[in-house]
């Protein structure tokens, strides 16, 4: 780890001011950043600790829920309103990492975490366009089990590892971003960027900006869940995960939200699948058709072709489960 200066921000204004400088990085729970610093992937000169900032979880007048960026993952999952209204989010968070890591990780840090591509992590021995733009990608032709089948590019095939973000995207979460020029609100679905030619650009966060809060709009009651498929029964990143919620009225799908994890550089909102289902029948055939419509865009690699089928099947199973007797 390169020598680093540690500063603690006592307000978000201070964090923005301190974090704006070159070589300064905001530090949340540190569960990803400290590891990457030890691996030589990240080399900030100054760490600005924002994990101690106030992190209220409050209900707004319109029924939306605003979660401070410094809220710990475990506190969000345990919050009574989250458990009652957004079970898919609680489950997604609880599916991620371990209890210790969830106790440390902040909501903001979770969204800002980097890919777990093993070639990205191997600063000493592998080429990576995300780490060193233009250097090449050793993941191509290598181990791609955990890599993208959607939205990848020849420059980068990495996936975003967050579980929480998958549920948040399905719930139409918005982010409050604060910078020197004030606060703006953006849809989380647009926050993470697909790699294209510049995989080093991972989010729409401008230099000097930070995530202040996550806003969950009110949802009508729906059956929802999060299912994660992985290589061991717990404490592993997703091969594929599905966050889904559905409202069935008189046998027809009145509302549906689906996002898929483990398949792209961002939490993947399955817009095509949703469109194919909306206002249609809640039947297994319809679910299969919707899953196929979404995965038709997939462009898998030799090492991860199975994920197309795995994603399709998991989608269909989750939707069938949620539809219950209505399917």
């Amino acid at each position: 780890m390169t020598p680093v200066t540690y500063l603690r921000a006592d307000s978000s204004a201070a964090a923005i001011a301190l974090g704006a400088a070159d070589g300064h990085r905001l530090l949340g729970g540190g569960t990803n950043l400290i590891d990457l610093m030890r691996k030589g992937v990240e080399q900030p000169a100054v760490l600005v600790d924002v994990s101690g900032l106030a992190a209220p979880i409050t209900e707004a007048a319109d029924g939306s829920l605003v979660i401070g960026a410094a809220a710990r993952n475990s506190d969000v999952a345990a919050h009574p309103l989250v458990r009652a209204r957004y079970p898919m989010l609680a489950r997604a968070i609880l599916a991620g990492a371990s209890a210790q890591i969830r106790n440390m990780a902040t909501v903001g840090g979770n969204l800002m975490q980097r890919t777990r591509c093993v070639y990205f992590a191997d600063a000493a021995g592998s080429r990576c366009n995300k780490r060193v733009p233009g250097s090449g990608c050793d993941a191509l032709g290598g181990f791609t089990r955990y890599h993208a089948i959607l939205g990848a590019s020849p420059a980068c095939i990495a996936t975003h590892p967050s579980d929480m973000a998958v549920a948040l995207v399905a719930l139409d979460a918005r982010l409050h971003l604060a910078g020197a020029d004030g606060v703006r609100s953006v849809a989380l679905a647009n926050f993470h960027q697909l790699p294209g030619d510049s995989p080093e650009v991972e989010t729409m966060l401008a230099p000097g900006e930070m995530i202040l809060a996550v806003e969950l709009p009110p949802v009508q009651p729906m059956r929802s869940t999060y299912r994660k498929v992985r290589d061991r029964a717990s404490y592993a990143f997703a091969l594929v995960s599905v966050a889904a919620g559905i409202v069935v009225e008189d046998g027809r799908i009145a509302d549906v939200r689906i996002a898929v994890g483990g398949v792209a550089a961002k939490p993947w909102r399955a817009a095509r699948a949703e469109a194919s289902l909306r206002d249609g029948p809640a039947s297994v055939e319809a679910f299969v058709q919707a899953a196929q419509a979404e995965l038709a865009q997939a462009d898998p690699l030799p090492g991860n072709a199975f994920k197309v089928q795995l994603a399709e099947r998991t989608l269909v199973a989750v939707l069938t489960d949620l539809a219950g007797g209505d399917a």
């Binding site: 780890m1 030589g40 777990r116 093993v118 021995g125 050793d138 290598g142 181990f143 498929v229 029964a233």
Partner: protein, 770 residues
């Protein structure tokens, strides 16, 4: 291992087969067998309390004044040479005391490769260590940095700039097969065995299976990292290491650094898991050399990545198993051959065919292993090397045959149980695997298994049962020595350089000393983990407990003569000879007139001595050559496979063991379970990802190498026959490795039973079941 060795072992076996067992040293059954005492009781781990309190000090936890810290730098190419190495920035970085490279490393000969015949030969690699600019595999140590703090050393290590001149390197298993070589022997067994005309028998067998099985690269992943704290005072060296070979390492370090053996002390009272991985690798040599160069005590605790880079694991294999059977299911041909990696600079032949030689009766056998050379860190012994993966191939094949024959897989195995060694004809010392199968099947509820695959289902889950046989050879190492001391206060201590890695060795030593001497448990202590003590063999081959037990037996046989000499004429024992007394009731007693007795306390008080000590070594382990001696097991598994995702959840696991006397049911059950859980990892989750383009391990982390977590581990039932082996000390055979054998087969067979899909390559990940 050489052809000469084959001849020597073969000749010794043949000669011994004519010698009556009772003529062999220790040839009469151990008198402790069948006696009720501390052996067989659930004594608690003697080191349990300090471990749960966090007070047990491991190798990287020894405090020293002026301690400095080291970090390794690894090559990023597979083969070639260092064209340029610039360490200026590292040398001038804050806190840096020393940068070690091939340019300033003292001349040190690498330890000789591990050998059964030379206890000081403990090397896992005989490549030069920082002696020249050559690179032999991706990850090799190319430099080390020493600094005042670990943080400073870690950072400075990243400042060393190296340009390589890469050379052509073979890093692909498949490509290297064409250049495979055939070595004459595997450990002490012949490699190529041809018995009957197996290919011909196979061709004409009415029922046969003939398939290829593949197993993955694996790493031990003991949770404690490899670490040592080394200190020189003049020409005296003290090393606190985490090692499975204390005495061997001390001898090897003395040789490497040119100092007398008695000037090296290796201390390793606790080892945080070994599994074959905690042997002698490059890091001990580098750390000891660097400590001498820098003139300060030094700690080198490998990063987890460094462990993967320089400590080899289990080789990948490709194995063919073919079985021919007659209409009754009796095997007429058993063929097992294949490929595994063993670079010329490595020592581990990954003997996956060893177990096949004694597992089943067959009319003909054809067995051969081929070894390929690729540029990788040398693979080494990992828990049941050979057997863990050999039994996967063999037990899968037996299951496939049973399916073809429409016969119950347990019945097929029972039908082919051997009553003597199937190839050599040597008698088994004791063998009740058939009972293990029957007891296990009954307890597991095997009769509930659906004969037709893919027919049991609960929701999206398909349910299946499978079984697999396990075996591991009995090994007793020659040359184990112990010192047994009895004191005037009525206590006794057993001392030897043995290793406690969590097996319960120290606990079981206390139990047997109590029984041998007729003392209560509370009066016995044990000293281990120090090379200054009489030399125990390494902890390997599931051999440590019986190896030490034979030496304890020898010491206990010497002790009465010493005590009688001290007892003198005024003792009630006066006039008795050593052969006429027994140790019981905290002292000596006449065997024929039990009233004539005297306590150790009384004898030593009268003699005005604080203590009396004897040192003794175990007899040569000739029983291994005369008898076929194997721990065996029958493993049962019930699992679920998701129809949606292919995910596997193991719901039940049972191990039924035949391993001689179980010395401590509590620690033994934990050993069995531990092996079985590692077997689950082998079967389902673990794989070291070796990128064959670069020869580089891509998942050197515990996040990306998936050892089973709590959620993967079901409740595991273990039972045993508890039939003593009359040919071994205490009637015991090894239990440390048998647990991992047979499990992968049982799991794969259960997957087949659940789904009808036969997966022949490990690990069985969900994509293989979609």
């Amino acid at each position: 291992m050489s052809r000469v060795q084959n001849v020597i072992v073969g000749t010794a076996r043949s000669a011994l087969s004519w010698v009556p067992a009772q003529w062999l040293p220790g040839g009469t059954p151990d008198p402790l067998i069948g006696r009720h005492g501390e052996i067989g009781r659930q004594a608690s781990r003697i080191d349990g309390e300090i471990k749960v309190r966090g007070e047990a000090r491991f190798a990287a936890e020894v405090a020293m004044d002026g301690l400095c810290y080291a970090t390794l730098v690894h090559s990023t190419i597979a083969r070639g040479r260092i064209a340029r190495l610039d360490s200026t920035a590292a040398e001038t970085a804050p806190g840096v005391l020393l940068v070690v490279t091939h340019r300033n490393m003292p001349k040190v000969a690498s330890p000789s490769l591990v050998s059964m015949s030379d206890p000081t030969a403990v090397g896992n690699s005989d490549l030069p260590i920082l002696q020249d600019d050559r690179v032999h595999y991706n990850g090799q140590v190319v430099a080390a940095v020493v600094a005042a703090t670990q943080e400073q050393a870690d950072h400075a290590a990243t400042l060393i700039a190296i340009d390589y001149e890469a050379a052509q390197a073979e890093t692909r298993f498949g490509q290297a097969k064409s250049g495979a070589r055939i070595i004459p022997s595997l450990l002490i067994e012949r490699n190529h065995l041809s018995f009957g005309k197996a290919e011909r028998e196979l061709a004409r067998a009415p029922h046969r299976v003939d398939n290829l099985y593949r197993t993955q690269w694996q790493n031990h992943n003991a949770i404690e990292l490899h670490a040592l704290t080394a200190a020189w005072v003049g020409d005296r060296l003290t090393v606190h290491d985490t090692t499975q070979m204390i005495a061997g390492e001390a001898a090897a370090l003395a040789k490497a650094f040119g100092i007398p053996r008695d000037q090296v002390q290796v201390l390793s009272p606790f080892v945080g898991g070994g599994f074959g991985g905690k042997g002698m690798w490059d890091h001990q040599i580098v750390a000891v050399a660097a400590a001498r160069m820098v003139g300060r005590p030094l700690r080198l605790q490998l990063s987890r990545e460094s462990v993967y880079r320089i400590v080899g694991g289990r080789s990948a294999t490709e194995q063919r198993v073919a079985i021919g059977a007659d209409a009754d299911g009796c095997f007429t041909a058993l063929l097992h051959d294949g490929w595994s990696v063993m670079p010329p600079y490595g020592a581990c032949p990954e003997a996956y065919t060893l177990g096949t030689r004694s597992a089943y009766r067959a009319k003909s056998f054809e067995i051969l292993q081929r070894h390929i050379d690729i540029a990788v860190v040398p693979n080494t012994f990992m828990r049941a090397p050979g057997e863990a993966i050999g039994t996967f191939a063999l037990e899968s094949a037996v299951d496939e045959l049973a399916h073809n024959l429409a016969m119950d897989p347990v019945e097929l195995r029972l039908r082919n149980m051997p009553d003597k060694h199937p190839i050599t004809g040597a008698p088994f010392s004791q063998h009740a695997q058939d009972q293990a199968w029957r007891d296990g099947a009954a307890r597991f509820g095997w009769e509930q298994r659906a004969a037709k695959p893919g027919t049991r289902r609960e929701g999206e889950w398909r349910i299946g049962m499978g079984c697999g046989g396990g075996s591991f050879p009995y090994v007793r190492m020659p040359g184990a020595a112990v010192r047994l001391t009895v004191r005037r206060d009525g206590t006794a201590t057993l001392a030897c350089s043995g290793q406690e890695m969590g097996m319960g060795t120290a606990t079981v030593v206390v139990q047997q000393v109590a029984d041998r001497l007729g003392l209560p448990l509370s009066a016995v202590t044990v000293e281990i983990g120090d090379s200054a003590l009489p030399a125990a063999p390494m902890a390997g081959g599931s051999s440590q407990t019986v190896s030490i037990a034979a030496a304890v037996l020898a010491a206990a046989e010497k002790l009465p003569a010493e005590l009688l000499r001290l007892a003198g004429n005024s003792s009630p024992l006066s006039g008795l000879r050593a052969g006429e007394v027994r140790m019981e009731g905290e002292g000596l007693a006449s065997a024929s007139e039990p009233a004539r007795r005297e306590t150790f306390r009384a004898i030593l008080s009268r003699a005005n001595l604080e203590e009396v000590s004897v040192t003794a070594s175990g007899t040569p382990p000739l029983e291994m050559l005369k008898f076929a001696m194997h721990s065996t097991a029958a493993m049962f598994c019930e699992l679920r496979v998701s129809d949606v995702t292919g995910e596997i959840r193991v719901d039940r696991l049972l191990g039924s063991f035949d391993c001689g006397t179980i010395l401590n049911p509590r620690t033994a059950a934990s050993q069995f379970r531990g092996g079985m859980i590692m077997g689950l990892g082998l079967a389902l989750t673990e794989e070291t990802l070796l990128d064959e383009r670069s020869g580089r391990i891509m998942n050197p982390t515990l996040a990306d190498y998936h050892v089973p977590v709590h959620m993967d581990v079901p409740q595991i039932d273990v039972i045993w026959t508890d039939i003593p082996d009359p040919r071994s000390p205490l009637g015991a055979r090894g239990i440390g490795e048998i647990g991992i054998t047979g499990i992968a087969g049982a799991v794969a067979n259960a997957v087949f039973n659940a789904t009808g899909k036969r997966v022949r390559d490990l690990p069985i990940t969900l994509d293989k079941l979609l």
